[in-house]
Structure formats: structure tokens, C-alpha cells
Amino acid sequence: MLITTENLVKKYTMGESEIRALDGVSVSIAEGEMTAVVGASGSGKSTLMNMLGCLDRPDSGEYFLNGENVSRLPKDRLAGIRNRYIGFIFQSFNLLPRMSALENVELPMQYAGKKDARGVAERALEIVGLAGRMRHEPGKMSGGERQRVAVARALVNDPALILADEPTGNLDSKTGEEIMSLLESLNAQGRTIVIVTHDADIAARCGRSIRMKDGRVVS
């Protein structure tokens, strides 16, 4: 198993009331799987993705990534793990403004201390079909193009796991379709992919669906 969680709990307190965004989540995802996470708004999908992506630590429960318990590692260790093992794609792209597509894609490799970042970044941008847009800044690109830059950025450190939180949420259906095909081809190369989505068609294209409700996995 690439991912195994045991009874993950994440609580948020809003004044008096306490929200259990994750209320004892245990899931396992094997290497090479393409998994959809579905559920109503507020059911805890993004919170689960944050845990799986080592962006946040659970209040209780364990998370084993590739066999290593990462649920209580210090933050800079987690940054290293994210950098090496995990690629992220967000609904709102989260590219850095004022940097060209190429520089955005190079960044994760700089933190990994890789040589020839430029060459690898150029190849990644070619793969996502942006060979002609490398010098553009995100502000001068369409939503679909930005998301493809984000996919290229998620790829460059050759991560075992790609986490996509509503990657097509801000795109029209045609561009969303293009991004999905990209993710499918990455999955075909053996990468494990987890996609949060509200779109039933997209969920149907994944090998497996995890349905959440009120912080729990219901199926």
C-alpha cells in the first residue's frame, strides 16, 4: 500500500462549537491506483487531501506513506517529503505570479537541489502541451493553460503520488476533459492519483471512488 490511514481525526473549533472535519478516516490506496474522493460540500474532502499531502497533521490517528509513519513528523521533514513524493494540483492553480511558466515549473526542483532544472522543466511543459508558452506569466494565460502549468509543476520531481483537489472545478468541460486525459496518461505511467471531484463523470473514470459524509468514509 502506498497510502494507509488509521482513524484520522481532525477537529476545528469555531468559537463554542467543534467541527470534526475528519472523524476517524481509515483508507488504503495501492500504488498505481486512480482514486476519486467524492461527497457533499463540507464533508471533509479537502481536509483529507491536506492530511494525505502532509500539509497538515491529524489531531489523532496514523498516516503511513509508503510504509513510513508521517503523522507526527516535524514540518520541515514534511516539506521534504512533499517535495520528493507528492505532486499537488489545486482548483485555483496556485501558480506564482511574476514568474514565467518555466520558472514556476523549475521551483520544486530547486528545493530538491536538482541539476538541469531548466531542461526537465522544458520537457514537462512540452508533455502538457505548452511548448510555445514557456515564457508567459500565469496572468497572461487561460485557466486551462494555467492548470497545465500546475500539472507540469506537479510532475517534475517525478512524484509517486499526485493529489488533485477539484482540478477541473474552475475550467469549462472541454478544458477539464483535457486535464483529465493528462492525469489519466500520468496514471497509465504508474503514478498513483487521488482526485477530489463533484463531477460524476470524472469519478466514473477513476478506478475507485471514496465517498465522504460528515468527516467519515461511507463507501
Binding site: 500539509l55 497538515d56 516539506a79 520528493r84 506564482l96 505570479p97 511574476r98 520544486p108
Partner: protein, 388 residues
């Protein structure tokens, strides 16, 4: 490639207007500090220069006058007959009796006419006591010259007088300029010299002198001679040039303490200025910093990036400030020149002052960057990604 520096500069150029305003603020703070520093530095080094200069090293004068010998009131209260007694004190190499007169002829300052001090003295030992002095034009006076005067280099410049012109004393009597001395950057540039006998005659004051200038022998040194003179003339005031300069330095350090306080104030405002800009700039980019952390940037990287941005902002201001400071000190020099004529004190712009200016701006930047860096570090990545 130092990508945190690159990211920092990029962001600064993005918000050009705001960055420029901040840079101007820092530039003014640093400029002010550097300007004040170079002025007091210049004054201090001018005073130190006087210590190593040639010339007399002791004054013997009546008690109770002004501390500075040059502005002495109640002229000519000493008996000229004291001269051989002073000369007889062991360790005294030369003694010059001085009869002090004043002129406001020629030249002017923002405050009014330029004042020239005319020292009546014997010609004998002038060049022995002041080995670096020399005559540029005309000649030096001899003891039996009449109403003549020799001008120090700066006096000649300030009054615009040359050989053959007349210099009018405050009393109305005119002295003929017979010589101009070379400018040497020593105190005697700032005086005019006449035969003592003719000044005493003009003021009908024969047998009286204003003060004695004493040169101690190299073996005895001014301090020991000063002690002996004080003992021999308890009713007179004996002061070494060293003491006089120490006195002047003391006054200057008080001024310096005020400068320091004002500068600190300016620098604190500089820190607040940069900190304010950085807090704004960082709050706008909470999602960006979170994104950097998501793709693997360490905490240290993000802190360095914020500090780099803050330091670059502040150092650009600091460099500009150094230039403003130099301009400011030159301006003050000009103003001093305009109001009091040329003086031996002028601002000193040394590389050391630039180094201090830049160092201070680095510190301003580092301090100012700490708060926004801490602000970002306190945030949770997952929360920051949701931040609108």
C-alpha cells in the same frame, strides 16, 4: 542561483510605487544619519589635525576671560615685563607676546562682515615656532615695520585682500598688507600678523600684551611646562593646546550625543517604514508563501526570502541615503562657509561612513523583515491555501 533573492526583487519591482516610497523613507533616515556623521567626523578629525600641527602649544593669559583664547575680551591686561620671566621657566623654548586686535574689513558672511584677528607679535621666532609656514607673495614683516600686516592664506581669501591693499582695524586705523602666507591647513591660515610694537603704538598701550604663546621644548613637553607656568603664575590662566582641543571635543561630543539620539530616532522610523511595507506585501501573498511551502520550500527558505526582500528594499534606500547624506553634508559645509567664512572644519566623507550607512540599512532591513517573517511562519499551510 539564489532564488529567494530573485523572488524578492521581483516582488519589489511589481509594487513599484510602494517600494519607491519606502526606499525614499529609508534614504532620508540614512541620509540624515550619514550627513550628521560625516559632519561630526570631519570636525573631530579637524581638531585632531590641530594637535599634530606645528605652532605654539601653550597659552598664558589673564584669568577669567572666555575659554577660547581667540575671542578674548578686555584686551591687553598683561604686563609685557612678564616676558623674560616666562622665558626663564625651564622647558620653555619660545615665548611670543601677542597684542590682539580685530578687523572687519573685507569679505562678508551671512551674519555680516567677516572678522579677522590681527595678532601683534615679534617677528623673531615666527617661523621657528611654525616651521610649515611660508610666504606666498610679498614678504614677512620685521620688528621695525610700521602699520603693516601679513595675512594668513585663508584670511587673504576671505577678505579678498592682496599685497598693497589696506586692512582696516575696527578702530579705523589702516594697515598695509605687505605679505600673504601660503595656505597650509594649519591654524595660522586663519590669522593676520603685525609687528607688536606698531599695534601697541596704535592703541597707545605700550608695555601691555593680551596673552603669551609658549612653545615648550621637545624634551619638556607642553604638560610639564604648563604645570611649571601655573605654579609660577598662579594669577594667570595657563592652558595647553591639547586641553583647548579636548575642551572643544567635549563640546562636540555633546553635540554628537544629540546627533546620535536624533539619528536613532530616524532609524527607528526607517525600520517601521520598511516593516509596514513588508507586512502589507507579505499579507497580500499568504497563498503564495503557502504554495512555496506546498511544493517543498523549507521554513528557512521562506524566512530568507522575506528577509532578502526587506533587506534589498532597505539597502537600496541606504545607498541612496548615503548619497543624500553626502549632499547634505556638502550643503551644510556651504552654509557654514556662507555664514562664517572658511573654517578649518569641514564634513569628512570617508568610506567608513558609507560602510556604516550600508550596514545600518542592512540591519534596518533585517529587523523590519522579522515581524512579517514571523507572521507567515505562524500560519498553517492548509489554512493559508484557503486564504482569499
Amino acid at each position: 542561483m539564489k532564488s529567494h533573492i530573485k523572488l524578492g526583487t521581483r516582488n519589489l519591482t511589481r509594487r513599484r510605487g510602494r517600494s519607491m516610497l519606502t526606499i525614499m523613507g529609508v534614504a532620508l533616515a540614512i541620509g540624515f544619519t550619514v550627513g550628521l556623521l560625516s559632519i561630526s567626523e570631519g570636525f573631530m578629525s579637524a581638531l585632531d589635525g590641530m594637535l599634530t600641527g606645528s605652532g605654539p602649544d601653550l597659552f598664558v593669559r589673564p584669568k577669567g576671560g572666555s575659554k577660547m583664547p581667540f575671542g578674548m575680551q578686555g584686551n591687553a591686561m598683561l604686563d609685557a615685563d612678564l616676558l623674560p620671566i616666562v622665558r626663564g621657566i625651564p622647558g620653555v623654548e619660545f615665548v611670543e607676546p601677542i597684542y590682539q586686535a580685530f578687523s572687519v574689513d573685507g569679505g562678508s558672511t551671512g551674519f555680516g562682515p567677516m572678522m579677522t584677528m590681527v595678532s601683534g607679535m615679534p617677528a623673531d621666532d615666527f617661523f621657528k615656532i611654525r616651521p610649515t609656514a611660508s610666504i606666498a607673495r610679498g614678504r614677512f614683516f620685521s620688528n621695525d615695520d610700521g602699520a603693516v600686516v601679513v595675512l594668513g592664506g585663508v584670511v587673504a581669501e576671505n577678505t579678498g585682500k592682496d599685497v598693497g591693499d589696506k586692512l582696516e582695524l575696527i578702530s579705523g586705523r589702516k594697515l598695509e598688507v605687505i605679505g600673504i602666507m601660503e595656505k597650509t591647513d594649519e591654524p595660522f591660515d586663519y590669522f593676520a600678523y603685525s609687528p607688536i610694537a606698531s599695534l601697541q603704538k596704535i592703541f597707545r598701550d605700550s608695555g601691555r600684551v593680551s596673552y603669551f604663546l609658549v612653545k615648550a621644548s621637545a624634551e619638556a613637553g607642553p604638560e610639564s611646562v604648563s604645570e611649571k607656568l601655573s605654579k609660577a603664575f598662579p594669577h594667570l590662566d595657563v592652558q595647553t593646546v591639547r586641553e583647548l582641543i579636548a575642551e572643544a571635543k567635549k563640546m562636540l561630543s555633546m553635540a554628537r550625543a544629540v546627533h546620535f539620539g536624533v539619528s536613532c530616532f530616524a532609524l527607528v522610523i526607517g525600520v517601521l517604514f520598511v516593516a509596514c511595507t513588508m507586512v502589507m506585501s507579505v499579507s497580500e501573498r499568504i497563498r503564495e508563501f503557502a504554495t512555496l511551502r506546498v511544493i517543498g520550500a523549507s521554513k528557512g527558505f521562506v524566512i530568507r526570502m522575506i528577509l532578502a526582500e526587506s533587506i534589498i528594499l532597505s539597502v537600496v534606500g541606504g545607498a541612496l541615503g548615503c548619497c543624500i547624506g553626502v549632499a547634505l553634508s556638502k550643503l551644510i559645509d556651504l552654509l557654514i562657509g556662507y555664514f562664517v567664512g572658511e573654517t578649518f572644519m569641514s564634513a569628512l566623507v570617508s568610506p567608513r561612513i558609507f560602510a556604516v550607512g550600508i550596514l545600518i540599512s542592512v540591519l534596518i532591513g533585517a529587523f523590519a523583515g522579522l515581524l512579517p517573517a514571523a507572521m507567515i511562519m505562524r500560519r498553517n499551510i492548509a489554512d493559508s491555501l484557503r486564504y482569499e
